[in-house]
Symmetry: C2
Subunit: 327 residues, 2 copies
Amino acid sequence: MRQIPTIDDVVDARARLAGQAVVTPLLESAALNARVKGRVLIKAENLQRTGSFKFRGAWNCISRLTAETARGGVVAYSSGNHAQGVAAAAALMKLPALIVMPVDTPEIKKANTRSYGAEVVTYDRVRENREEIAGRIATERGAVIVPPFEHPQIIAGQGTSGLELVEQAAERGAKLDAVLAPVSGGGLIAGISLAVKARSPGTQIHSVEPEGFDDHARSLASGKRERNAKASGSICDALLSPEPGELTFAVNQSRLGAGLVVSEAEVRRAMVFAFHHLKLVIEPGGAVGLAAVLSGKIATEGRTIALIASGGNVDPALFAEILIAKD
Amino acid sequence: MRQIPTIDDVVDARARLAGQAVVTPLLESAALNARVKGRVLIKAENLQRTGSFKFRGAWNCISRLTAETARGGVVAYSSGNHAQGVAAAAALMKLPALIVMPVDTPEIKKANTRSYGAEVVTYDRVRENREEIAGRIATERGAVIVPPFEHPQIIAGQGTSGLELVEQAAERGAKLDAVLAPVSGGGLIAGISLAVKARSPGTQIHSVEPEGFDDHARSLASGKRERNAKASGSICDALLSPEPGELTFAVNQSRLGAGLVVSEAEVRRAMVFAFHHLKLVIEPGGAVGLAAVLSGKIATEGRTIALIASGGNVDPALFAEILIAKD
């Protein structure tokens, strides 16, 4: 297992991200506060470069590569936000990027990834293994693999969002009772937990997952890494990792409270609420924290809860369908 | 004519708004900058309380009312954003609010206005005069009329967005070549021009209007207040005032550059761009500045342009239709 990152790595990552990543705003809505009888602070990572927090970790990792180690560029496997984060970071470093994507990835996500100059190679989800394909290509090209979460620099990079959040909350005099973050492989919440527990030790941190993909909630309860039964079938396409990462779970196990789980209907309602009251486009996986707050999965009355709206990369047809659906 | 407000009124308004209005973020998108080969800063007033800048002026006006003058509460006429701004400000002051709205106002806008505790009275656009109705009710009740733009406190309140904009731009080392703002009666851009011309005299300020409702562009060119031929028929429902205000034009005439005009197709494309790349919900009238930038109505290459995304109150069915329309 790779080395476990620390708060120092998150602080170092922040210095590296300066001028490249967006210091995303911490937003607050009088309408939302009134609705939940508490104070909700929203870290708007959908406003991050490439439309999700993933640019943070990708840049922290890729910007440190030397000309020798990365002579063949970078390779990643992802069907979504990590692909765009890696492609954009590589383009800024003038490195070639190749992304391994499932052949059935929506054309818009392939096009977005290519728009940053990356090459896209497709594979068959059922018959082929993406890690193997990426590994073979990386070896052939002399390229570096940028994993989606199992890497200390990726975790530290994502953690910069948590560092900003704690400082932005303090600036406005808010004492954080809890921080909620969406979880897939656990890299974002691992980085956030390093930052939050170092700077605000009394703040609880909770993972939020969609029903059927609650591997972290079960793993945190059992104390060992549990797998999901299904590999697909949630509207939250960014949150489908089969199990917690080994490295991320080593960070998360001692720092997170109980995991929260939300239904698809709750996610849809949260996206519609964000449209009406926050004026934000939040993708399904990015809306689980808001869904948890709105559906009462965590106590809000008289408390201050921060949540990460982790991304906004949602297909327009799906967004439109959710907006006009009769609930 | 009422007294023309000054930068001092805007500064005073800011102190009054502190803790009630949102200091909205000034956003920047690498994707947008790359697209226009310049730097675009977006003042996200769609993230303001009630979903548009209108709360600023309403609060600046209503929070100054004394118990005697406002013993009967406040009255306003508006079919949209001003209604919500006045209703929310009155609710915070624990004053009754009555809003005169066209009988054919979409039910969702009436419901939003009522959600702040306001009473809604409807009138027939063709046969009745809303100013007369509001005036009669105000007299009967001993209530104060809060006009949408022809009032120095309203103008000064809206101008706080410009004051924040100039300071936020300076904080990030941006020298503003131009500021673009949507225009209906001209209150927002009047307040902004007071702030921007006082703090950054070399910055050009341009009104942006939808085709067919370009009364300001024509008035600025001719030097006198010109009227629109039509009273309705634009997707930009917030930008349909028939002519510049007398007071607002007195402020704007000497401070604005040439007016810009955008088509409905350009507005739709800007809203879709904002969905994909900014992850913001912007209403049609709020997207005219972005439309002007994206359609090349103003030179952007190598320049820094700030624009006001003035609101995000758009019907979900319309937003969905725009998202999925084939261009």
